[in-house]
Symmetry: C2
Subunit: 192 residues, 2 copies
Amino acid sequence: MLHALVGTLGKYVSLTQEEIDVIASLFSFRTFRKRQYILQEGEINRHETFIVKGVTRTYEVDEKGQEHIVQFGLEDWWIGDLYSFLTETPTKYNIDCIEDTEVFQITKTNLEALYEKVPKMERHFRIIIQNAFIASTNRVASSLVKSAADRYLDFIAQYPQIEQRVPNHQIASYLGITPQSLSRIRSQVNKK
Amino acid sequence: MLHALVGTLGKYVSLTQEEIDVIASLFSFRTFRKRQYILQEGEINRHETFIVKGVTRTYEVDEKGQEHIVQFGLEDWWIGDLYSFLTETPTKYNIDCIEDTEVFQITKTNLEALYEKVPKMERHFRIIIQNAFIASTNRVASSLVKSAADRYLDFIAQYPQIEQRVPNHQIASYLGITPQSLSRIRSQVNKK
DNA sequence: AAATTTCATTAACCTAGGTTAATTTTCTCT
DNA sequence: AGAGAAAATTAACCTAGGTTAATGAAATTT
């Protein structure tokens, strides 16, 4: 379990045994059941969460009660509402598990301690966030430029693992369309 | 000029005079005219750019030749295609100036040198990117959840300075709608 | 200041994707 | 294995926003 975390934390910077011990002391391990919430709207997101095993979804509920998936989470990904975590204000997102999920979590205090004790983690997290920002920028650009059908094809090309493990109506939600529209798009794609 | 840069670089971390001198030695100052490109599609983005004065737009051109604005840039903001900058691959974006614009720029080599010589800059840029990522996540969420009219109202509430300085058809492009639709939305908003 | 280009607005018509509803297929739980 | 719930599909109809086109108002350029 721990080696999945350490392997990823050591991806952009190399770590000594002492540093690994510090890391082990500052994170906690948790398991969640399928359907279980990791975070609910209105709570303050007290942990950033690293997925060891499982699949999660982060979604917003609009005034009509409809769910809109903002992000999926898979093995080795970080999830959590960074804004709520950093500002200690209530989140507007919900995060729950699509499969049984195992995670490591770190609090804000412990993350700050980690930056103090292992300064190179500052670099690690800068790079993690940089990559997340680039992915998010690309998603904005593609929502401006591309049709729903193209976004669907891009999605299955980019995240084939997710397509296998997540029901279609949740992929539709991620793409910003209805399940009916996705079904229509899929049947048109299959014709060709 | 330099104090605008240093003021911002010192926003999240405090700086000594030596550190300020290092910063001054690693950045270069440039001016661009209105309409002038800072970056063009196909180039490698060799600099991250800090705006001292002026307004910029970052946009993608689709296969039909239509422009889609991904980001505006204003005083004290960082612009540039981070992906192209970091991976040294050709960018798909164009950046040009909506007004005459003054900037500080830093190359990848010099940014790495800055991280070596002033390690606390690693923290500064982590926070900058963190904020940009949060803004981008919110933009994804609002494009999934909100109507064009609501996105327009959010935009003018959040960036009143941009609304003053940027023509409407470019705001329409940023919102992902046509100038005609924006005009229709604006006339409906004014009725109420 | 005249000419030209760029921008904003309005209107008629069109289309991608939404809505509602019914049917079938696939999960999930006992 | 069988009942009930959740998910996927299809079809008829609807709507937000796109497209095309025309007109006038502002900016720029000469």
